[in-house]
Symmetry: C2
Subunit: 297 residues, 2 copies
Amino acid sequence: MNMSVRGAPAIGVAASFGVYLSSLESKRNVNEYVKKAIRELALTRPTARNLFWALEKMEKVLNKSVNRGEGVGILRRRLLAEAKKIYEFEKRTSFLIGKYGNKLIEKKDKILTVCNAGALATVGWGTALSIVYQAHNLRKNIKVFACETRPRLQGARLTCWELIKEGINVTLITDFAAGRLIQENRIDKIITGADRILRNGDVANKIGTYTLAVLAKRHRIPFYVAAPFSTFDFNLRSWQDIPIEERDKKEVLYINKIPIAPLEVEVYNPAFDCVPHSLISAIITERGIIYPPFHIK
Amino acid sequence: MNMSVRGAPAIGVAASFGVYLSSLESKRNVNEYVKKAIRELALTRPTARNLFWALEKMEKVLNKSVNRGEGVGILRRRLLAEAKKIYEFEKRTSFLIGKYGNKLIEKKDKILTVCNAGALATVGWGTALSIVYQAHNLRKNIKVFACETRPRLQGARLTCWELIKEGINVTLITDFAAGRLIQENRIDKIITGADRILRNGDVANKIGTYTLAVLAKRHRIPFYVAAPFSTFDFNLRSWQDIPIEERDKKEVLYINKIPIAPLEVEVYNPAFDCVPHSLISAIITERGIIYPPFHIK
């Protein structure tokens, strides 16, 4: 599977427009055709909850329209309207996450993040980076440290690019250098996005998030997760139940198409890991900040 | 500074032969010339203790010979003999580390390591990997997980190559994937080399070692450090005192000469980090295994 869209909220929004587009493609039996598209879209990525959240919303609109016996033209308009609604909702959500999150940010904070939870992962401002952008606009004089985030280097390629563009002070580090920075007492807060959050507060996010949370706990640094409610999974009970996408060994073995290791070597390449709720200081959503103990509804 | 030689024990051995070679170059005033070479060699890398250990041995031989008023020919022969002695000593040492370390290795152990502490970092078998090689020869059916070790990818390039060559089962992971592997209970032991060890058991080693030690502590996995006595620094009192080499930002920004981030970004690139002794389960040396509480003499 190619990774053409990434970032949990962006995946959800893209999928909802994908459902609409499938209704345009369908010649007859729109219901069947769009349902098949929804099933196919659901198989693209297993971990990000927002994908299923958006597809469920689109399927509801489809079912309602079909049950009413509406024509194809009306159905298509309804699907487009829903996709646009999801888009606008997530855009507003991203702004609110940044706004609420700023209650936790002090002047001159040094913030560590992993992967890219910014404009390029969402619609609007992002999640973790929405907090950073708004802190910058509030002249809090913050400093960001970006883990490069192997294997796909979203931190190096995307987060650094986004922050430099906005004139925000950003320093790139290799992933393991996070431990040294924290050991030197040079980090005040860690903020990441999330791909899935359970009602008990357990989180799945980009590989490395668990390691950062463990380091934060040892050094008593606040560890914050920023994500929209569309990220919440109210069915699963524990992080052990969250399906973790394992991606192709080529992602690790090649950088810019050049091999970095003997090609016959075995590779283990999980795209995400999980943070048990006991390591999380707060979850920042569009409805406000949630503190532990987490019983999210 | 180019990194032409790497691996703490290999650095020490290479430096001792470097001192001998400088004595061949010198035209007159050998004493001054070789002393200057020793000073220059001491400035090449700040963290690995073995470098200074070997240079001190060579300087002693130099001083003794000069005090005796010996001729240049004799001095050169003495320096070569000493360099060879250091070489043979470290080779034997590396074998013994593997031998003693195997007391700690059980059948089917899954061992995680970082960087390269093998034949390519030492003379002979290596340190951490000497244990692995000998466990393999003892048919313990072990499995190794190698952190790729950004930025220079010694794990991917060197450790995987070494182990595949010997027919040892090795799996490459990105550095942050170590946390996921450990979270999944798929690691039995972590073994690393060391660049410097203090008498209280504090260790400096390749960036990422601290992070692995913190993860090991949380998951009650044994965390072993394997290193020769030439790694020990009996002067410094705490890991905070160990000088940590910071290397060029280009090491992070380019992989195989291709940029992986906006080139104007700031970079922090520490080559090593430190593990406080409270996180270390045992130190494996050529004299045997040292257990906490550490009071090393």
